[in-house]
């Protein structure tokens, strides 16, 4: 009996001893192998930026590419000393998935922004998603940058949103007359046009502007076929109508890549020669290289596409980052380059604000006016300032025309940023 009690006591002591040793190993190991930047007491805390995009669902590719671009751009800022006025603090993305739905966008932004250390936000690709995520950041008082083009984004009187890309009305006003000019130079006269595409907010803005501008130029719209984004199952009826009506040009908007592919395949299958003019730079997406020969001469307008003045380092970083975490892309398209219209500008704002206070950051952003500096290299107008609605100021607004030639897209307008000469119509 005595022996049993003694043995039980010894076993308990041994267990306690082992536990103490194991816990000590874990604690000491944490100090030895843990994150050195956290151990170094003098490093500035990271600057957390909420990043909300569709990472799953129908628009996962668009969202994932944009996020990879953001990571690459933040990496560039961090490798160049971070935000110096904040002790070299590094930008860190805090990522949320909006799941390709409007409600998802608001929920994800709400969830990510619960962290009180979030100082700014970026999101959320589709204008409809940006509409809902900016409502959240407006309520929480967090400055949010968005690539959204829809005019309706800035008609809401929000005070905390920033849109470094021009609205569709401006993009169209810059590009559409150039397209007509292109046709004239090729000896073609445009008298009729047709609308084909989805009916989301940005697209409707684009169609409205196209109708106004073309109307002034005497061009008549003879047909319109629109659908809810993500619902097109077969493009035969649409292309049958295009073939039957035979307009001189088709004004096309289709953000979902599968839908673009369906339309371009049917266009080729039905041997439709009518030039397609697209209101979105997603047409330059590398995934379309699988059918690149079907897109010959297709035109797209985009405020963000690598051009002559875009730093080569930015392009290689974006491709390397994407290869590391997502996919091996053949080139940088609009989505992968969106970040370079936003992140360098955000870094500049933070640098000038010298503070993590959201109000100060917002006020600094609204007063910003810079041009011909590194941060504006990728912006078409080479400068950035914001008007009272948060949209890029008119003096810096610009758009590229991107055109598919020989199996890949090139910017062809404006001439100072072009990497190829424009052509008209497929052979």
């Amino acid at each position: 009996m005595e022996v049993e009690v003694w043995q039980k006591g010894e076993r308990t002591m041994i267990r306690r001893g082992l536990t103490i040793i194991l816990v000590s190993i874990v604690i000491i190991g944490g100090f030895i192998f843990g994150d050195k930047s956290k151990v170094a007491m003098t490093a500035a805390p990271d600057i957390k930026i909420a990043v909300v995009y569709p990472l799953s669902g129908a628009f996962s590719r668009n969202g994932n590419l944009t996020v990879q671009g953001i990571k690459a751009a933040m990496g560039w800022v961090n490798d160049n000393g971070g935000i110096k006025s904040l002790g070299g603090a590094k930008l860190v993305p805090v990522i949320g998935d909006c799941g390709s739905t409007v409600e998802g966008s608001a929920n994800a932004m709400e969830r990510v922004c619960r962290d009180p250390e979030i100082v700014m936000a970026i999101g959320s690709w589709a204008s409809s998603f940006s509409m809902s995520s900016t409502e959240v950041t407006e309520r929480l008082g967090i400055p949010q940058f968005s690539e959204g083009f829809a005019d309706s984004l800035t008609e809401r009187g929000l005070k905390w949103s920033f849109y470094p890309n021009p609205p569709y009305s401006t993009l169209s006003a810059i590009v559409l007359p150039q397209v007509i000019e292109l046709a004239k130079n090729a000896g073609k006269s445009i008298k009729t046009a047709m609308i084909v595409g989805n009916n989301q907010a940005a697209s409707v803005s684009f169609y409205k502007t196209a109708k106004e501008i073309f109307g002034k130029l005497g061009i008549k719209f003879i047909g319109e076929e629109t659908w809810a984004i993500g619902t097109l199952t077969d493009a035969t009826p649409i292309m049958q109508k295009v073939k039957a009506l035979n307009p001189d040009v088709v004004v096309y908007m289709g953000d979902a890549l599968t839908e673009i592919q369906m339309v371009m395949m049917k266009k080729k299958e039905f041997d439709i020669k009518t030039p397609f003019m697209c209101g979105g730079g997603w047409l330059g997406d590398p995934s379309l290289k699988f059918g690149g020969e079907y897109l010959e001469s297709w035109i797209a307008l985009s405020p963000s596409f690598p051009h002559k003045l875009t730093p080569r380092e930015w392009i290689t970083r974006a491709l390397a980052q994407c290869r590391k975490e997502y996919s091996n892309e053949a080139w940088v398209g609009q989505e992968l380059s969106f970040a370079y219209t936003m992140v360098p500008i955000m870094a500049e704002v933070l640098e000038r604000a010298g503070s993590r206070d959201r109000q100060i950051i917002r006020d600094t952003g609204r007063k910003l006016d810079i041009h011909n500096v590194m941060a504006t290299r990728h912006i078409v107008g080479q400068g950035m300032a914001f008007d009272e609605t948060g949209r890029i100021a008119p003096k810096y607004r610009g758009s590229l025309i991107v055109q598919w030639q020989s199996g890949r897209p090139y910017p062809v307008y404006p001439p100072n940023l072009a990497l190829a000469k424009p052509i008209w119509g497929a052979k």
Partner: protein, 293 residues
């Protein structure tokens, strides 16, 4: 006139694709009374593997991959049924359990494809993908026509299997009277496994054929699963022949509806006709009066 003819031809070609996928769904429901929400996801999986990736890696033509998919997905379907679905059949609330289980499969498959092969939409770029025959002013796509012919062979093979083989007859018997089959010594677990496997194999092959003429992405299944259910219900729930006819009708309505309504109302037109039809004939086209399974 040519416009109408073009749309009817396109409707038939698209409808046959729906019909093949719906046939697999009807087989599974008819025998096992399982509503398989993952049905279209299996078709999408087959579009990627083997169709797209065998072409990329080894240059294997998608129509050959369709033949490879048949035994491959038969095995996958059999394992899925025997290892997972069988566990909940016969339990209380098994209908709800299998419904939720198959919804889970659907999410798993879609996101497995997304994680493994990214969300980039893919297209098969073969010589026949966009080539057409011209019949008057009507254009008939090569890839869709070859798919139609192979689909007819597949459907014919299915009917032969069900009507001329012992296991096929056992499947039909199990659909009619599972209890009676058990008393007769038929191994119901094995029969269910084969029925589910066959349904998935047919669907996967149908998916391979669809991939030859249209782009696809990991979530394409979400856009057609409702159409497949509509085809099965329109056809008469447990009738494979009915599902085939239902798929064909839906394909044709989808195309022809663009003559009278905007493309955005295409599926509205489909479901309006669907509801009207069921109002007039609730049992579906081949519901109770005639079953070919």
């Amino acid at each position: 006139m040519e416009n109408g003819m073009q749309l009817i031809i396109s409707g038939i070609l698209v409808g046959v694709s729906y019909a093949v996928l719906a046939a697999g769904l009807a087989l599974i429901f008819g025998v096992m009374k399982i509503i398989n929400f993952a049905h279209a996801s299996f078709a999408v999986l087959a579009m990627y593997f083997p169709t797209f990736w065998f072409l990329q890696w080894w240059g294997i033509d998608p129509f050959i991959s369709a033949g490879i998919a048949l035994p491959l997905f038969f095995i996958l379907g059999y394992l899925t049924q025997r290892l997972l679905i069988e566990r909940v059949i016969g339990e209380s609330e098994s209908e709800t359990s299998t419904l939720i289980m198959t919804m889970g499969f659907s999410l798993l498959i879609d996101n497995f494809i997304l994680i493994g092969w990214s969300g980039a939409p893919r297209i098969i770029n073969q010589p026949y993908t966009l080539e057409t025959w011209r019949v008057g002013k009507v254009l008939v796509n090569h890839a869709q026509t070859y798919s139609l012919l192979i689909s007819l062979v597949l459907i014919g093979g299915l009917f032969l299997f069900l009507n001329k083989t012992m296991i096929g007859k056992a499947i039909k018997a199990a659909a009619d009277d599972p209890e009676g089959c058990a008393y007769m010594g038929i191994n119901l677990r094995f029969v269910y496994g084969v029925a589910f496997a066959l349904g998935i194999a047919i669907t996967a092959t149908g998916g391979c054929l669809m991939a030859t003429y249209r782009p696809f992405n990991p979530f394409y299944g979400e856009s057609i699963i409702v159409i497949l259910f509509a085809s099965v219900v329109l056809g008469g729930m447990t009738s494979i022949a009915g599902a085939l006819i239902g798929g064909l009708i839906i394909g044709i309505i989808q195309q022809l509806s663009s003559l009278v309504v905007s493309i955005s109302l295409q599926n509205v037109a489909v479901f309006m006709i669907f509801v009207l039809f069921l109002y007039l004939r609730p049992q579906g086209i081949l519901g109770k009066r005639e079953r070919l399974i």
